[in-house]
Each structure stands twice: as structure tokens, then as C-alpha cells.
Symmetry: C2
Subunit: 382 residues, 2 copies
């Protein structure tokens, strides 16, 4: 059986990148590696849509978030955390670990924090030093209006920290234009790589906050130390350099395709996935949904744990379940990175077939036809 | 030209492990991955010679050291740092970053801290909460007598933290028997893997210190949180799971060979390398030298930067230079991981040839013969 990984991280990796991973290990303090790292950082700036330095870290995405909090937020400072799911909660927990007071703007899972809620929080807390948000909230599939958040935060003394781990490279994200001060992503989502690397883009305003912070409270994730090495380019500690070499291949693919074309293709895939699921009688969980993944509720009497188990066992399709309280209640389909429109079709086909087996009868092909209409007609973006 | 990576990290990786790295990406929250992670952690306990839990981290070795300091050492506490090179300095710098007072016992680079120096420091500082040492000091090639250090520290309230990043798996290291409380290593040295993973073995005494510490001052490297996930086994954040899958292959190789046989083989390779270099008229830099790498001084008028450049360009042999002030003055040859006795011969042959080219004439084969006698006669260990 052919296996298809369609979870919102880890995601499938292109074959040419996998082959790079199998190449012999080389030494990293050389002009050859500096060349590779330089290309990777330049291509990342392209993907981030930023002219700011992008710092590479050897860690999970959460390590990148820790770097943001530890370096930028002084102990006793106040951060407004926008919480629409597990990864919004992570910002709050990071603040707690680093002695930062968090003002929590929480919405029910499945909804997004609205710009007017942030505006009110900023008015109520003019002393806030930061606003922490997610771009794509991976646990629920909602997307945040980061462009609007940026407009609200930019005129204030606060900096805007964005967890773009599962969004960057799949959905529109313009770091500089949207005034994102610290934008964090990981290798294993839309960037078409296995996990192990995190990347942090840092604005001038954020560097000023970092310089004012008396102590980064981390040695390994010290962003100033990392910035000092960027000229090489080099890293303060041994990086996962074979991952960086492989990442070059994935980034070349992304750059050849063009990031705006990728945003458009994944937007179309997202609209097609939503249309397909809705045609099967499934309801969207996310309001508003984002373009990196589609999350739908289960119909009455269907447990997503059972459905997902059958989908994998019978058809080799690996989609994700809900987490914690949402387990069994939703399913999550990724369309990011090396997942394309025909992979989305495969997922819709499989879900339709299994739903039928489980007693939620759907006219065969109804979901597929709905998706196909989207592919045929195209989608207007932006 | 055939390339041979003979630096003390990164080191070469067995072909079967490289092929594992090229396998398609899979999902990590599954029974299959828990099985893989369980095997890896069990095999690591075997390599560490410990019954304590081993915590896997997605980071460089320095991330593992940060986990040790952040979790175990309370702010304002006092740590005795044994400094015989760059990696001893790293302990000191980590203490500084985390507000820990360091009492520095420093010896000239090329020498090791002696047990009597530690005994005196412990007597002078009965309030020390920790002793921080390196097993193999990668920057100078000296080895520390960790067994003796363990005997001195065990009866005190302090815990013994050991940076075994470049030593573990190459030279004798008995975590439990030697009373090492926190033993840290990385994937890219003797464990035959690319960089990207760190591992931390934690004793009961260290867990008590961690529990007493009011705040781990890290979220990503929180060892208590990681321990809570070990039962699965699982990890708090997305691990570099494709590296962990590949690591299983390298650990199976290590386990099949037997760790004590590996220690013996690398001890023999170390003795052979020393004998070979000395027969060429080169002097050892390290006193005492360790069995993970051999470091020698350059003869009058020979710059190691030039020698190493020729060695790589003419013969594909990549050895390491000295760092900082030692650059140009020493060379460092690794014998750890997937580097074997014939790789050591290749290095000796290449160095002899290039030294001849550079005007330091050596009778051809003199170094090789000295090494060969060691291979023929064997070496008594322990």
C-alpha cells in the first residue's frame, strides 16, 4: 500500500531532499558550508518576505518560540497572548516559564481572536511589551489576521511575536509588510523538511527590545550571539548541518515555484478541501479557516479516532486527529509543503469511502466533484 | 578522491544509517515511533552504562548542557567548574547566563584538572551545589579522571555534571558506577550520527536537585516535563524523529559490537595514533591524552593550518585544527564512532607525506610501523 503523510507536521519531504539527507557527513567550519548556510538563509528571507536577519536554530519550533520569549521579553514585563488553541496556550506557558506576565485573550477553540479584541487589549494595557499570536493555529485550523494585528501593534511600544510554525510557506505571510517583529517557524511544516531546525526572523524594533533586556536567560538560544555569527555566516554551536544542506534542496524547489504561487496553490487546495468535505455533509471546525490545513467536525455518531484508523489501515492515508479534548471529534488535513492538489483529492476520496463504511452515506464522488470544480474554476486570492 | 572525515565531530556515519535518513517522513505520535524511541533510549542507557532515565532533546550538545544547568543549578548557587579548554569554559559561561556563581579551577590548555585540585576546591567550597567537568576536552584532547571526581563528589551535597559530548561511546565512561549525576552527550560524535540530538542521563540525586530548584528557567529544555513523557515513551515537543529513527541503526551497530569492545578498540587506536605521531617526531599536546582524539603539536616552522589544507586537498583527509589561540599550532585526529584503525593509518600516512613535502623529513613508514606494532601487540585496558 502506498503511504501518504497528510498531517499538519511532520509533512512529506521531496525525494531530492531525502537523498541529500543520505549524503555522507561533512565538516561544517568550511567555506563550502558557509556557502550552503548563506543560500539557505537568503532563501528563508525570501520565504519570510523579510529583509531582516533570519537566525537558524537546531531545535523544534518550540525552541524558536523559547528564543523569542527569553531574548525579547524582560522578566516582569507584560505580554498580551492571543489564545485560540494549543499553540496560543504555548505562548502563555512560555511567558510563565520566563517570569513574564501574560494578559490572555482567549477565544473558544475553533474561533480566531479578532483585531478589535486586540485593539481593546492594547488600549487596556498600554504598558504591554509584546503581543504573542499564532499565524495558523495548528490545533484548530483557524487563521489569524496578522496584517491587521501588525497595524495595531506597530504604533505602540510593543513588539509582535508570531508563531508561524505551521503557516509560513503555506499561507500568505509578509513579515516586513505586516510589521511582524519576531516571526518563528520550523523546518517540518510547509518548508518540506524533517523536524530539527527552527528559524527566527527579527526586526529592528525587536533587536532594540533584545538589547534593552538585561539578560537573555538562555545561552543556547541567545539571539545576539547568533546574530554576531551571521556575517560568516556561521552558528555559535554545531548546527544540524546535514539538515541545513538538505534544506537547501527544499528551498530551491520553493523558490523555483515562487512563494506567491505556492500561497495561491495552497489557497485553492484549501478551498477545494473545504468544498469537498462540506459536500459530504461535514461541517468546518475553523472560523475563519486558514489555508495550511482544513479541520472538520465529525457527523453525529462518527468518532474521528475510528475513522482515521480505518483511513490509515485501508488506504495508507495519514491525517491528524484532534488533540486533548478534541480527540475523536475532528480531523485535520494538511495542505502545505510537499502536499499537492491530488493528495487532497486522495484524502477526500478516502474520507468519503470510510464515512460510507461507517454508515454516513455520501453519494460517491460528491466531495471529489466539489473539489474538482474549485480546481477547474480557480480561486481569487487576497 | 576519496574523502575521509576524521574530525572530533561531526564524524562519519555508517552507510546503513545514512540510508535510514533518506527514508520517507512518518508521523511521530504512533505506536511505531514509540517502539523506535523506546529502543533508542534503551540502547542509550546501555551506552551510558546507566539505569537512570536518558532524556532525548532536539538540539546540539550545548542544548543538553543548557538543560543540565537550567534545571539543576538554582540561581545564586555555586558551581565548581573544572576548566581545561573551551568546553570547560562553556560550563562557566552557561553558569553565568543562568545566574550561577562559578568557582573556576583552570589549568593551562593541554593539561587536565587533577583530582587533588577538585578535592581542595570541594573543601574550600562546602556550599557548592555542583561540579562541572568534561570527560574528553575536545579542544585539547585531554581526558579527565571522572571516576576519581565521582568518588570525591558523591559524599558531598554537590552533584557531578559531565560534558561527555565527545567522549561517550569512544572512551570508558560508566555513568552509574562513577557517580555521574548528569551526563550529557550529542549524536554527532562517537554515536555515529549527524548532529541534531542531545541526550542527558539524570541520577536520583540530580532529580532531587531539580525538584528543589524553584524554576527550571527553560520551557523547551524542562527535564521534569520530559521525564513525565518518558513512560510513553514520548517527548513534550516534536522531536527530530527521522534522526531518532536513523540513530536506532547506529546504536544497533554499537550494541552488536559491544561497548567495552569499542572502548578497547578505540584505546588501541589512540595508542597507535600517539605512537605513530611520536615516531614522526611530533609531540603530544594532551597530558593525559584521552582515547577519543589525539592532539599533537606542530614541529618548529610547520603551521598546522597549512598542513591540514594540504592534507585535505591532496589526500581527502579532513582532520581538525586547533581553535582560537591554538589555531595553526596543533592538529586533532578523531578516533571515535565510525572511524576505525585503518582510518587512523590513513591519517598517519597522509600527515607523514605532507610533513615531508613541508620540509620536516620523516623516514617513510616510520609512523605507520609504530602504529602497526601497537595493532600487532594489542593494548591492555583499564
Amino acid at each position: 500500500m502506498k503511504f501518504r503523510l497528510l498531517t499538519p507536521g511532520p509533512t512529506p519531504v521531496p525525494e531530492e531532499t531525502l537523498l541529500e539527507l543520505a549524503k555522507p557527513v561533512f565538516f561544517h567550519r568550511t567555506p563550502e558550508f558557509r556557502q550552503i548556510l548563506g543560500e539557505v538563509l537568503e532563501d528563508l528571507r525570501y520565504v519570510f518576505r523579510t529583509r531582516n536577519p533570519v537566525i537558524p536554530l537546531t531545535s523544534s519550533g518550540t525552541g524558536g518560540l523559547e528564543a523569542a520569549v527569553a531574548n525579547c521579553l524582560p522578566p516582569g514585563g507584560k505580554a498580551i497572548c492571543l489564545i485560540a488553541g494549543r499553540f496560543g496556550e504555548r505562548w502563555k506557558n512560555l511567558c510563565k516559564a520566563f517570569g513574564v506576565e501574560s494578559v490572555n485573550i482567549t477565544v473558544p477553540y475553533g474561533q480566531a481572536v479578532r483585531p478589535e479584541q486586540l485593539a481593546r487589549a492594547l488600549a487596556d494595557h498600554p504598558d504591554a511589551v509584546a503581543v504573542c499570536s499564532t499565524l495558523s493555529e495548528t490545533s484548530t485550523g483557524v487563521g489569524h489576521d496578522i496584517a491587521a494585528f501588525g497595524k495595531l501593534v506597530a504604533p505602540t511600544p510593543a513588539i509582535l511575536l508570531v508563531d508561524a510554525v505551521s503557516g509560513l510557506g503555506a499561507m500568505e505571510c509578509r513579515t516586513d509588510e505586516w510589521s511582524i517583529d519576531v516571526c518563528v517557524t520550523g523546518s517540518q511544516k510547509a518548508l518540506m523538511m524533517p523536524p530539527g531546525l527552527a528559524f527566527v526572523a527579527v526586526s529592528d524594533k525587536a533587536w532594540k527590545a533584545i538589547e534593552k533586556n538585561p539578560n537573555p536567560r538562555t545561552f543556547y538560544f541567545d539571539l545576539k550571539k547568533a546574530r554576531a555569527k551571521l556575517e560568516g555566516p556561521d552558528t555559535p554551536f554545531t548546527p544540524a548541518h546535514t539538515l541545513i544542506r538538505a534544506m537547501r534542496a527544499s528551498l530551491k524547489r520553493i523558490r523555483a515555484e515562487g512563494i506567491e504561487n505556492i500561497w495561491a496553490a495552497q489557497a485553492r487546495n484549501a478551498v477545494a478541501a473545504r468544498a469537498g468535505f462540506q459536500a459530504m455533509g461535514l461541517e468546518l471546525f475553523s472560523d475563519p479557516p486558514n489555508n495550511a490545513l482544513t479541520v472538520v467536525k465529525m457527523p453525529q455518531g462518527i468518532d474521528s479516532t475510528v475513522l482515521l484508523g480505518k483511513l490509515e489501515k485501508q488506504y495508507g492515508l495519514k491525517l491528524a486527529n484532534g488533540q486533548d479534548d478534541l480527540k475523536g471529534k475532528i480531523l485535520r488535513l494538511a495542505h502545505m509543503g510537499y502536499i499537492d492538489q491530488f493528495d487532497v483529492l486522495a484524502a477526500l476520496s478516502g474520507v468519503e469511502l470510510v464515512l460510507g463504511d461507517m454508515g454516513h452515506a455520501v453519494e460517491p464522488g460528491k466531495g471529489l466533484a466539489a473539489a474538482q470544480r474549485v480546481f477547474a474554476e480557480g480561486v481569487k486570492i487576497g
